[in-house]
């Protein structure tokens, strides 16, 4: 057996009191695709950052092709033949493809010779791996998929033998993702070693040769992909057999609360993100919007929540809502009975530097009951915050603590407490359990279902299919700004939704109509 392309022995890394990596050992054979799977915060990214020289490990050794190697910075990683494709691309947007590729790997001090060399080399790489990109195009004019290709080309141009990809499909359409994996296959055939970091079980099962599972900073197992199953991997990821089946009765929807007709949204860059959709949400039901991130779901929520403009018609309880201007801001939406748990709680839902008590009225700070003449009734707000935090089991239950000092799950509970206790007619909730620990997920899901059972309308957006399938009553799939299909949650499955999410509306081959197959287990296992 040849020496492993890369071998880590006993890597540990702590950030203050948080042990991000604990004694991690892993060995990757050359010419293979090795998957690393784990929940958010399991320590995958930290491990790869150590490998790429971004962080220094507290303990442990790295071997490249059997040679012990020190990687103090990115330069050393590049010299060792490691290339990295980050989740968020590291490209200079107003540079051309060629300029980005040579940056840091120029031949000599003059640009002209570097550029002409790179042009030749690029042509060669494009032919060899099927990586076609116009070398003179400026990055900001390229699609996300092509930008990612530039990142791969950058690594190959630097003669990378080992390519690390961190959540590469998070921003890709299914078609782009397929192309990516074809390219990765090609690279593997050419003898490159690929490390694929993902939390998507499907990608691991379909494309990797071996897989390592991480949980809470530890490597729980490394297995051959052909010898494992999704269920087994899920169990390894979360540490216990989870069947977070949400306990709920069948929905009893009544009158229409939200009615959307022909909604279009154009983002700040002038790109149309929502391309004319019709949607209704009735009282007493949870409508889940499924889709790959970036297909218009976020913009839909933003327009409904009042922080993006749109065109079309939206009626709430029979009254038309304005879609632009002052009457369409968050204040107006709240007055119309819409509460909103936003997708990004740290950037939108909370002021991280504010104390918890101040956050419990964020967005509702104009409400008459918390005013005391021209001043805010800070004492009243504080007392009420204390009670709210008790009811929603926020830990630690200290209203004076700044929001940034709570864990993700507890931050989400603060937002949820604020939004649910306003007794809205319609709750918008985006990525309710992203970055939330398993224990809190159950609680959050239960709160949402309770609200539904009180006869409220709920619009749920999540990129986690499992969450959509277990929580929603009705599932609407969005692709490229359109609604590509609508299904009853109990009568569909992941495969069918997956096709719809890829824009394929003919799902007769996989739809079985009688309650899903083995893939629709309502487990919550990925990305807790």
């Amino acid at each position: 057996m040849t020496a492993p392309a890369i071998e880590l022995k006993g890597i540990s890394k702590a950030f203050g009191p948080v042990q991000a990596n604990k004694d991690i050992s892993i060995s990757v054979q050359p010419g293979t695709i090795h998957g690393i799977i784990g929940e958010n915060g399991a320590g995958k990214s930290t491990l790869m950052s150590i490998l790429y020289g971004f962080y220094k490990a507290d303990a442990g050794e790295i071997f490249i092709k059997g040679q012990k190697t020190l990687i103090p910075d990115s330069q050393a990683a590049i010299r060792a033949g490691i290339g990295m494709v980050f989740q968020h691309f590291k490209l200079v947007e107003n540079f051309t493809v060629l300029e980005n590729i040579i940056l840091g790997a120029e031949h000599g001090a003059m640009l002209n010779s570097s550029l002409s060399n790179a042009r030749k080399e690029l042509k060669h790489l494009a032919e060899e791996y099927g990586l076609n990109v116009d070398p003179d195009e400026v990055i900001e004019n390229l699609s996300v998929g092509h930008q990612q290709r530039v990142e791969i080309l950058k690594a190959l141009y630097r003669k990378a033998e080992i390519l690390i990809l961190d959540e590469p499909t998070g921003v890709l359409t299914p078609a782009e993702a397929d192309q990516l994996f074809r390219i990765l296959d090609r690279l593997r055939e050419e003898g490159k070693t690929i490390i694929l970091i993902t939390h998507k079980l499907r990608e691991i099962m379909e494309f990797t040769d071996t897989v390592s599972v991480m949980r809470r900073g530890e490597m729980t197992a490394t297995v051959k992909t052909s010898e494992t199953s999704p269920e087994h991997l899920a169990e390894l990821m979360v540490g216990r057999k989870v069947l977070l089946r949400v306990d709920k009765k069948p929905a009893e929807p009544s009158e229409t609360v939200l009615d959307i007709k022909g909604l279009r949204v154009v983002d700040e860059a002038g790109v149309e993100r929502v391309k004319g959709i019709d949607l209704t949400v009735r009282a007493g039901e949870i409508v889940g919007i499924a889709g790959v991130a970036g297909n218009g779901q976020s913009e839909l929520l933003e327009v409904l929540g009042g922080f993006a403009d749109g065109t079309g018609e939206i009626t709430m309880n029979g009254t038309a809502l304005p879609l632009t201007g002052h009457g369409a801001d968050g204040q107006a939406r709240r007055a119309a009975g819409i509460s909103h748990v936003p997708e990004d709680r740290q950037r939108e839902g909370l002021i991280m530097e504010f104390a918890a008590w101040e956050n419990t009225v964020f967005g509702y700070h104009h409400s008459p009951e918390i005013q005391n003449g021209i001043l805010m009734d800070n004492n009243g707000i504080y007392t009420e915050a204390e009670a709210k935090m008790q009811r929603f089991d926020v830990r630690p239950p200290d209203p004076k603590l700044a929001a940034k000092n709570f864990s993700g799950g507890n931050q989400q509970k603060i937002v949820l407490a604020r939004e649910i206790e306003r007794n809205p007619d319609l709750l918008l909730i985006g990525q309710p359990t992203r970055g939330v620990d398993i224990g809190a997920i159950e609680f959050i899901h239960q709160q949402v279902v309770n609200l539904r059972d009180q006869g409220k309308a709920i619009l749920l957006v999540s990129v986690e299919l499992e969450e959509i399938l277990s929580l929603a009553d009705r599932v609407v799939v969005m692709f490229d700004g359109h609604i590509t299909g609508e299904r009853v949650a109990s009568q569909t499955n992941e495969k069918e939704l997956g096709l719809l999410m890829a824009g394929i509306t003919d799902t007769s081959a996989v739809a079985n109509g009688n309650g899903g197959n083995e893939n629709s287990t309502q487990e919550v296992h990925a990305d807790g």
Binding site: S49, E99, L103, E106
Partner: protein
């Protein structure tokens, strides 16, 4: 207005534009690397004092220049520490540097010379004297003919007038400043260093992951900025004028900043912007000329404020949009 008067105004414009141009290019290096510098004024002022003081003691303008550059670079290092190493607020750092220079120059001047915060006047080789280009009519010709220089030039043909009045007769630093423009263009757009410098101002993470040190690139840019500000300051006190007086930069650092925005952070545009602002300053000295040309009395205050007003208009995006480098004023914090 006759041709000779025009030449005289343009000649003054060039001389007044020179410190602006040097400071503007200084700012260009810094800001292209993502470090905003509103401390150009302070660095120029410090350089103006130390170059004049050392030129006075040494009797050599070039030694003075070195001292001025040294003072300016020292302040640039402070700015680098604050904005690069300690990831502080670059704007606040710039403000502090301006005050530091304003205070220190007077304090030291008073301590060394006891003339109310000024240096003694510089004479002879302690100044950068005008260079007479070949075939131009200059003071030597005037001495030889024993007639005033102005008379000789007035009698010459238009081409000779143009050459002698406008092109010839500046100090070496003026020509140096003009040469810095193509050099900067070449460095920025034709070399590896330039590529990396522009990249670090747009997306430092891209530079970092490519294995190039963000910190050193930015320090290099900030130091270059210090050097050019130093030359600008030395020019003020030992070429444009003969000695240092308190607050002698008189807002030129900010006009240079305005010119930089006006030039959209491009070297050749910077030249035109600085010449334009230099022209405003030249006209401020000769309000009678405008009155003669357009037949309207223009307030000198308006001329003085014009660079600032134009910059606000440009910033407001009413006439072409000025988009600064994307990573401007943001300290680089390594994160994934």
């Amino acid at each position: 207005m006759d041709f000779l008067t025009l030449l005289q105004v343009l000649d003054t414009s060039v001389r007044l534009a020179t410190p602006l141009l040097l400071a503007c290019l200084a700012g260009l290096y810094s800001e292209r690397s993502g470090v905003v510098d509103i401390g150009l004024e302070g660095k120029m002022l410090a350089a103006a004092f130390f170059s004049a003081a050392v030129a006075f003691y040494s009797g050599n303008a070039w030694v003075g220049l070195l001292a001025g550059v040294g003072a300016s670079v020292a302040l640039a290092v402070v700015h680098g520490l604050a904005s690069i190493t300690f990831r502080g607020n670059q704007l606040i750092s710039g403000v502090a540097i301006n005050f530091l220079a304003a205070g220190m120059t007077v304090l030291v001047a008073q301590s060394w010379f006891r003339q109310g915060g000024r240096t003694p006047p510089l004479e002879g080789d302690a100044r950068f004297n005008p260079i007479e280009l070949p075939f131009a009519i200059g003071p030597t010709d005037a001495a030889a003919a024993d007639r005033p220089l102005s008379q000789l030039i007035a009698e010459a043909g238009p081409l000779q007038q143009f050459y002698s009045e406008l092109i010839s007769g500046h100090s070496s630093l003026v020509y140096l400043a003009l040469l810095t423009v193509p050099f900067t263009w070449w460095l920025l757009f034709r070399t590896r260093f330039g590529l990396r410098l522009r990249a670090v101002g747009e997306n430092p993470a891209a530079v970092d992951t490519a294995g190039v040190s963000v910190v050193w690139l930015r320090y290099a840019a900030v130091l270059l900025c210090g050097v050019l500000c130093g030359v600008a300051g030395a020019y003020l006190s030992s070429a444009l004028q003969a000695g240092f007086v308190k607050d002698m930069t008189a807002g030129r650092g900010f006009i240079a900043l305005a010119a930089l925005i006006f030039a959209k952070w491009r070297p050749v545009y910077a030249l035109w912007a600085c010449l334009l602002f230099g022209l405003f300053q030249a006209l401020e000295l000769r309000p009678d000329i405008i009155e003669n040309v357009i037949g309207l009395k223009v307030q000198v205050q308006l001329l003085g404020a014009l660079p600032y007003i134009l910059t606000v208009v440009i910033l407001a995006g009413f006439v072409g949009k000025a988009i600064p480098p994307k990573a401007s004023a943001e300290p680089y914090i390594k994160e994934r």
